[in-house]
Amino acid sequence: MKKTAAKILSVMLVLTLVAACFTACGGKTTNDPSPNGDTDKGTIFIGGTGPLTGDASSYGISVKNGAELAVKEINEAGGLNGITFTFDMKDDKATAEDASTGYNALMDAGMQISIGSVTSGSCAAFGDLAASDNLFFITPSASAANVIEKGSNAFRVCFGDPDQGVLAAQELTKNYKNIGCIYDTSDPYSSGIYDAFKAEMDKLGASFILQSFDAENKKDFSTQAEALKGCDVVFTPFYYTEAGLVAKALVAKGSSAVVYGCDGLDGIADQIEGVDVKVMYITPFDANSTKENVSKFVASYKETYGVVPDQFAADGYDAIYAIFEAMKAANIDDADIDCDALCDAVVKAITDPSFKLEGVTGTMTWDASGACTKIPQIVELGQ
């Protein structure tokens, strides 16, 4: 009896292993052309990964929405010399492992060019693989320094973490006296900005009160607020969800400190509604801007998804346009081009000094390092 069971199990094992490779092989055929039937020059497949489930999923979903909107607009306007685009984003739950799985799946599905990953940790894994294939990617929002260091194929739309830290240190020491800082020790984005911030503060000879938290304790900030309540300004280099809680905790402790953050704070407006606090943040994107392209983007995003776009959506939107414009500048007219050749052409076009993108997150240029140069704005909210 036991023997038969073992035999059946063993046969099943072999079957599953073999089935595994065949089902996965089947993935190759999923690269359906876009529904737009009027194309005769084929489609270019843009891939990307981002957290669509889990704690960070709001960022991934925003980027996805922004990117899909851009792809739709481009295709409706006739695409690139008749070439249309398809876009797909795989869920990576903001983990490195799932980002590489997603990368492999996208490559099998015929990805030619990419927007990388949404979060820094995932994008490092994505970039590691992309460097070996020489696949061009321009990440909307992965801001850690190491994301674009792996190869010449890596670019980004957002500010780098170190740039923001340095800029914040300079701004804060210029305008305020008692400076406080709180950061998330478990988050690459937050730690990256903090490291640069601290280095710059040391260089400027300024001192500040330091507090920290981590992923396990990121809800209740009363202790940290207690230590920071005497400051004029508190530097909060992390995302808006926690920053909103920090702002509320500071107000609850009777502090009148200004909350000063980076681009992750975009979206904080709903969080601090009715709270008497002044929030300032460095951002490339302001949904209330009167610039024509921004208001057009905000209006059509609102119409499609029913919400006001945040900075992630704008970054996703700009990443797609960066790819589109660079491909246009490189005169790509063959939709079957492989990722290697496409990468070389696009890198050449995008690093050309004359290349400039008027995006919704500002006017951007790129250099060979992959970092994006654009002018930051400082948005003020409240009080």
């Binding site: 489930t53 889990g54 704690d55 999923s57 709001s58 979903i61 020790t185 330091l210 507090q211 920290s212 938290f213 981590d214 396990e216 304790n217 809800k219 209740d220 009363s222 202790t223 940290q224 207690e226 230590a227 969800t241 909103g244 809680l245 509320k248 609850a252 009777g254 709903d270 969080q271 601090i272 509604e273 009715g274």
Partner: protein, 287 residues
């Protein structure tokens, strides 16, 4: 001093959650891993009813009803068929329920954190330390619930039946106790406590996400074990102790990043020195 007050208010929340864990463990002898997620359900119930009616008191009532109902439904559908099965199977089902609730919440409300504003009760000053009234309220209500629960278990008929079920299911059955009903009532009470916990949680941390319940759930479970799982005063003690330790660790920048390690190391040390927790019931070793 202020750190201690913060620790107390956090500890009071842990204690309330831990009470739910301990009730269910003490009587049904199962770890309800989904308890933390019931808090999340309660939080979303408060949010939705507040958005619909604008009346915070009604929202609290709705949250209590929703939590109790979901606790009972979960017990009926997922745990009852497993009565008498191995504890591990029940534990894994509870984990499945926890995933299920989180996924449903994300599908309905999205993963974005939603902010909520509950009425503020203001502050009172004791000496030069200002204390939130909600903190005191959390502690007082926690204490009241604890006393009420102890009295309920000791004095009422249902409570005595609970004790009987906890002692020996078979014997209780023979004595005419409806074991299934008692366990259902236990779940109802445990989930009702979760509704209170979600209310006090939101008063201090006004932000709701689908994963809101998991970390407080684990911390509260740790608290329940430190205090001695199955013991009602133990859950209170463990919760307050854990809240205090967490806040004291966080207030020292050098050791703040290691807070989680310290909390869990404390758990291991306490269990090694006193394997039944601080106030746990003594179990005689088999020879």
């Amino acid at each position: 001093m202020s750190t201690i007050m913060d620790g107390l208010s956090l500890g009071a929340i842990y204690a309330l959650i831990a009470l739910g864990y301990t009730m269910v463990y003490g009587i049904a002898k199962m770890l309800n891993f989904a308890h933390g997620d019931i808090i999340m359900v309660g939080a979303y119930a408060i949010l939705t009813s507040l958005q619909l009616t604008g009346n915070p008191y009604l929202a609290v009532v709705v949250s209590i009803v929703v939590c109790t109902a979901s606790g009972v439904i979960i017990e009926r559908l997922a745990y009852k068929p497993l009565r008498g099965a191995s504890p591990l199977a029940v534990l894994i089902t509870a984990i499945g329920v926890s995933f299920f609730l989180q996924a449903v919440a994300q599908l309905i409300y999205g993963s974005k954190s939603q902010s909520i504003s509950l009425p503020d009760f203001g502050k009172v000053a004791i000496g030069d330390v200002k204390i939130n009234v909600s903190t005191i309220l959390t502690l007082v209500i926690g204490g009241v619930i604890m006393t009420a629960l102890t009295l309920f278990v000791k004095k009422t008929r249902t409570g005595r039946a609970m004790q009987a079920v906890s002692e020996d299911k078979g014997a209780a059955l023979l004595m005419g106790v409806n074991v299934n009903r008692i366990i259902m009532v236990t779940f109802a009470i445990g989930s009702m406590l979760a509704a209170f916990a979600s209310l006090f949680y939101l008063m201090q941390i006004p932000s709701i996400t689908p994963t809101l319940g998991s970390m407080p759930g684990i911390k509260a479970f740790t608290a329940a074990v430190i205090g001695g799982i199955g013991s009602i005063p133990g859950a209170m003690l463990g919760g307050v102790l854990l809240g205090l330790i967490e806040k004291i660790c966080l207030s020292i920048p050098k050791i703040a990043p290691y807070t989680t390690s310290i909390e869990f190391s404390l758990l291991i040390v306490i269990l090694l020195v006193k394997p039944i927790g601080l106030l746990g019931k003594k179990i005689r070793e088999k020879v």
